[in-house]
């Protein structure tokens, strides 16, 4: 049995080496970054950060950046991982568009000897256990970040005040985590969450939901939004309802467009996950595993609360 396994592994190893295109100069590992939507500012920042890091460390590794068209295009992301496997990359740093659907292909990549690092959106633990895989997750704790933002809002409110949460796409793990984080903070402060609705991560949808909430709950004291685009939509709704200053708004992500609203106090707080560094953390973890400098392990990356000036 052992002999057989050794033979199979050796064959795979030779195949992997044989498939690799001949390169000039010293052998550098190739890292493939497979992202979610490159249409989303957050992932664009992430990819730019990774490219800058590679430019500074060009001698250490090669980088291939890939992304899908929109965040729900699962089959395309699976195809991308397959392409990267066919190219014979050494490591794949993956921001999965779905925490379950990508698990089988991740398992196949690992079986083919590729180091896989999970960033941004955590793969589902139960599904991973089901296929017998284990993938190190390098990323922020969205729940803790949202809780910290929620605490800033809670500090301005009194026990029993009414607030509402505008969440992301309900099936996304980070949307669930952020909502849970907001709820943790509100519960701890004895504040009443009167409604939780999805704004689908979008500005116009966030605005529509915020406007409805403001009509339906005239005593609303704050809108906790799971990303900054929805916070922008909510800010417009508060303004149009003539309630500027009466209803606090919090966001998440710290995008550039939110800065003016933070400056004039329309938005009280947001969270910065250092998006530009997220992929870099993942790449560094992958390189350490490849070179044997570190064993595969989960790593938590920082989330900072950014306050209104």
């Amino acid at each position: 049995m052992h002999v057989l396994r050794t033979v199979v592994l050796l064959t795979l190893l030779f195949m992997a080496v044989g498939c690799r295109p001949a390169t000039e100069g010293p052998e550098r590992p190739t890292v493939a970054l497979v992202m979610k939507s490159l249409a989303n500012e957050f992932f664009v920042t992430m990819a730019d950060g990774a490219r800058a890091h590679q430019a500074d460390n060009a001698a250490t590794y090669e980088l291939i950046v890939n992304g899908i068209k929109d965040e729900s295009d699962l089959s395309q992301q699976v195809a991308l991982v397959e392409q990267m496997m066919a190219r014979g990359v050494d490591a794949i740093v993956l921001a999965p568009a779905d925490s379950r659907a990508l698990v089988p292909i991740v398992k196949r990549a690992q079986d083919a000897g590729i180091t896989v690092i999970n960033i941004d959106n955590k793969l589902d633990a139960a599904t991973l256990a089901d296929v017998g895989a284990s993938v190190p997750f390098v990323g922020p704790d969205n729940r803790a970040g949202a809780r910290a933002v929620g605490e800033v809002v809670a500090a301005e409110l009194a026990q029993g005040d009414e607030v509402a949460i505008i969440g992301g796409i309900p099936t996304a793990f980070n949307a669930q985590q952020r909502q849970a984080g907001f709820e943790d903070a509100m519960q701890a402060a004895g504040i009443d969450v009167v409604s939780v609705q999805s704004g689908s991560w979008e500005q116009a949808k966030g605005n529509q939901v915020a406007a409805a909430l403001l009509s339906e709950h005239p005593n609303l004291k704050a809108l906790l939004c799971s990303n900054d685009n929805m916070a922008l939509g909510a800010a417009a709704a508060v303004q149009q309802a003539g309630k500027t200053g009466e209803v606090l708004i919090a966001g998440f992500d710290n995008i550039s467009a939110i800065q003016r609203l933070l400056a004039d106090g329309q938005v009280i707080a947001t969270a910065d996950q250092h998006g530009d560094q997220l992929a870099v953390y993942g790449i560094e973890a992958a390189l350490q595993i490849i070179t044997g400098a570190a064993a595969p392990a989960d790593q938590q990356t920082p989330v900072d609360v950014v306050l209104a000036d």
Partner: protein
Amino acid sequence: MRLLVLLRPYAALLAVLGGLVVLFGALSNHFLSPLTLRTLAGQIPPLVVVSVGMTFVLIIAGIDLSVGAVVGLSSAVMGVLMVQAGWSLPLSLAGALLAGAACGAINGGISVRWRIPSFIVTLGMLEMARGGAYLVTNSQTQYVGAGVQVLSAPVAGLPFAFWMALAVVAVAQVVLTRTVFGRHMLATGGNREAARLAGVTPGRVEFAVFVIAGLLSALGGVFQMGYLGSADPNAGIGMELAAIAAVVIGGTSLMGGQGSVIATFLGVLIIAVLQLGLAQLGVSEPMKRVVTGGVIVIAVIADVYRRKGD
């Protein structure tokens, strides 16, 4: 009596709309309030003007799948011109309208010149315009703020953009029913060959309609920006489906040759009231989609019965 006669063709739509308002009024605590009216008036202008363009396109037996992407592109262009290039509001607005008209001209020009179904051409434009929106903004939301929100400043209690959208509806209805161009549209959509034999140049009519649809989509992008105060490159995703739904609820045929802009406006109102009402009730996202789809189908059935009665 005269008013009743005028409203007769819209009875089914008005009944659905009235039913929704009564239902939400009964189920939620604060639906029947001035704030709800102001919110609706603020939110609907983009979909209203986009749907007016879509009505024209369906009347000539075409379809325009690119309207949502053009909304995104034109607001992106306007946002970048205002924020990064420092252009004034009128100039940036002109730039946005130009971008929309260009998209429409490409749609119309290609589908007329090579007789390619507009479904395919506008599907291509959907991708190109959305890609263009990401390119010009570098996928970053552009925040403008008060400089553009004057477009939704209240006039006589309701946002300026709302009155503009109403004006667009009125003008479009007059063009459709009282002008030569309107008759040519109806003739082209009804039977292209017969229209040609009767002396209409169908290609020219079709080209003009696609340019109008592009322009109105751009105007929708401008209104959306005026309402939200910033340009989101994702603006208008899926809006083509909402617009087609509104037009079809209004009884305009997908086969071309007939339609009504006023009925389209009522279709938009039905969709908007539904979305706002469901959000006020706090209905979950999946349930909202199930109900919205159901109401679209019911509204169309109601319209079929209304026409059988005629």
